[in-house]
């Protein structure tokens, strides 16, 4: 266990340094959530005029959703560099060192978590500037970012598992695009759940993205109280364990194919 933590730390530092050296990537990563917030915020603003919508400020309503969605989307691509490592022989080289197998996956996920936390903070800043108020204050915002990191870790790990299984960029891209949009719209990211069609609401109950949106909204805005935050965080943790199991199995399967 200590080896896992130590090696994850080394790998996280390595991956963060790789990102730091790509200024263009950093710029896109930081600007993208801002664009989403402002774009979706303006596009759907009239939605909050629907009588039964509830919340006055759409930006306030959508900010937790955008934070969760940004985490979900950017983590989803976490498998891409894994494929590059496979192709270039980096993975094989690491596999013959005493590296803890889990660190190969956890290092990338941890790097992603740092990115997600920073992105989330930026969105919070913009939302505040746009007049959103977070009812639960600082503890709420921290809990919301925690949830974003959690959903990011789930889908980042899942994406790495897909990458180790498919081992081809095209296949991974196809799988991710197939998943991302439906999962986004089968959630209350943009729309109050009570305004969604019944069947959609039922499906959304099993959508991890929806758990994250509900949890984040409860944390930041106080919708439904802290027990919603805790149950959703619990569900997400369970899902993360499942994803980690899948990714480790995928790594094992990759090694068995050698």
């Amino acid at each position: 266990m200590t080896a896992l933590i130590r090696h994850t730390r080394y790998m996280t530092a390595t991956h963060l340094l790789q990102l730091w050296r790509q200024p263009w990537w950093i710029a896109v990563t930081l600007v993208q959530p801002i664009i989403w917030l402002l774009l979706f915020g303006s596009l759907f603003e009239v939605v909050s005029d629907i009588p039964s919508f509830g919340t006055e400020s759409y930006v306030e309503f959508i900010a937790p959703g955008i934070i969760v969605m940004t985490a979900f989307f950017s983590a989803g691509w976490g498998g891409m560099p894994v494929i590059e490592d496979l192709d270039r022989g980096v993975t094989d080289r690491l596999l013959v060192t005493p590296i803890s197998r889990g660190a190969l996956i956890a290092g990338r996920v941890a790097q992603n978590s740092v990115t997600i936390a920073i992105q989330s903070l930026i969105i919070v800043g913009i939302a505040l500037a746009a007049g959103a108020g977070f009812a639960n204050g600082l503890p709420g915002v921290i809990a919301m970012i925690g949830i974003a990191v959690l959903i990011g870790a789930c889908f980042g790990t899942l994406s790495i598992g897909f990458a180790l299984t498919a081992r081809k960029e095209e296949t991974l891209i196809a799988t991710l695009t197939f998943l991302q949009l439906p999962l986004s719209f089968l959630s209350s990211t943009f729309m109050q759940p009570q305004l969604m069609p019944d069947w959609m609401r039922t499906v959304a109950d099993f959508n991890p993205l929806e758990w994250a949106v509900e949890g984040a909204r409860a944390a930041a805005l106080g919708d439904g109280g802290w027990d919603v935050v805790l149950t959703r965080a619990g569900l997400l943790t369970g899902f993360l364990v499942l994803c980690a199991w899948f990714a480790l199995r995928a790594l094992e399967r990759y090694q068995r194919s050698l």
């Binding site: 090696h7 080394y10 390595t14 340094l17 790789q18 050296r21 790509q22 270039r88 022989g89 980096v90 094989d92 080289r93 690491l94 596999l95 013959v96 060192t97 005493p98 590296i99 090694q255 068995r256 194919s257 050698l258």
Partner: protein, 327 residues
């Protein structure tokens, strides 16, 4: 002498019924440079993947540095350094950062680690490039970094899988020099795979010739060559006509295996240089004009031909097609 690497009856079949290893066995004495020689697709890389704990055999066993690769992979990984066919360094990091990560993963602490990194950078001529991003390195520099990465924790056994494939001749010569030094000065056990006959000939003290997943011959390059009787004598004639000189040639003592192909006459001689005057005299008496004569010591090419039953170039070309399919 103790055995540093021991592979016994390794079998491995890939998906699609591609049999990579078919009962491969070999043993490497500690402190020697050992070569696995064979054409592409013979199973050399699969064998290396198994003894370095990267892949698992379907059957068979292997021990490296006294540890079983299947039962005790962690101990094996601590004792070995591996340079794979593909580069394997992180291209977005500097040479020093790459070395540092490797050292850390092997549990080396700062006081021991940093001087070792400097030492390796110096030794592989990378001191000046130490803090540059690997992406900008030349092929030769990247290869040298790969070797440095494999050596950082002072492994007892070093594996080099096709270390010079794809390098230009000059860089290849440098690499050979480096590998010779590892064996000679550091007494390290080195296992290298190659499909270059001259590379095996020059670097390896002991060889195993691998063909179709099996070892077909072992010994030192000289021993293997000595098993072939004598030298190859080749005579180029002015015209494609022996004028009945063949029976005369066959009667010269110590000459055998005469074959004629157009204007080229080939023969084996126990002592090539001694046979030349007699051969020329015999041809002269029959009025056959000779354009040139060459005498060659048997090469590993001949050894391969004898044990694998086909010429090396042929096997290499054939295997390349198969390998494409297997991928």
């Amino acid at each position: 002498m103790t055995t540093a690497i021991e592979a016994e009856d390794l079998f491995k079949t890939y998906a699609g019924d591609v049999r990579a290893l078919d009962g491969l066995s070999f043993a490497v004495e500690e402190g020697t440079v050992f070569g696995l020689l064979g054409p592409n697709g013979a199973g050399k890389s699969t064998a290396v993947r198994i003894v370095t704990t990267l892949a698992r055999p379907d059957a068979g066993s292997a021990r490296v540095a006294g540890h079983d690769v299947l039962a005790d992979p962690a101990k094996v990984r601590n004792a070995i350094g591996v340079v794979g066919q593909r580069a394997g360094a992180d291209r977005e990091a500097t040479a020093r950062e790459n070395l540092r990560l490797s050292a850390r993963l092997h549990g080396m602490r700062g006081a021991e680690r940093e001087p070792r990194i400097d030492e390796l950078l110096e030794r592989f001529g990378l001191s000046e490039a130490a803090d540059r991003i690997v992406r900008g390195f030349s092929g030769g520099m990247e290869r040298r970094l790969d070797i440095a990465l494999a050596l950082v924790h002072r492994p007892r056994v070093l594996f080099l899988d096709e270390p010079t494939t794809g390098l230009d001749p000059e860089v290849r010569a440098d690499m050979w020099h480096e590998i010779e030094r590892l064996g000679r000065e550091e007494g390290m056990t080195v296992l290298l795979t190659t499909h270059y006959l001259e590379e095996a000939d020059r670097l390896a003290a002991q060889l195993a010739i691998v063909d179709r997943g099996k070892v077909v011959a072992t010994g030192s390059p000289d021993e293997l060559k000595r098993e072939l009787s004598g030298d190859a004598v080749q005579v180029e004639l002015d015209q494609a006509e022996l004028n009945g000189a063949r029976p005369v040639l066959e009667r010269i003592p110590g000459i055998g295996e005469i074959s004629v192909d157009g204007r080229t006459v080939r023969a084996r001689a126990e002592d090539g240089a001694r046979a030349v005057p007699a051969v020329l005299a015999a041809l002269d008496t029959h009025g056959v004009a000779v354009a040139s004569v060459t005498v060659a010591r048997p090469s590993l090419d001949d050894v391969y031909l004898r044990y694998a039953g086909r010429s090396f170039g042929e096997a290499d070309a054939g295997a390349e097609n198969k390998e494409e399919v297997a991928r």
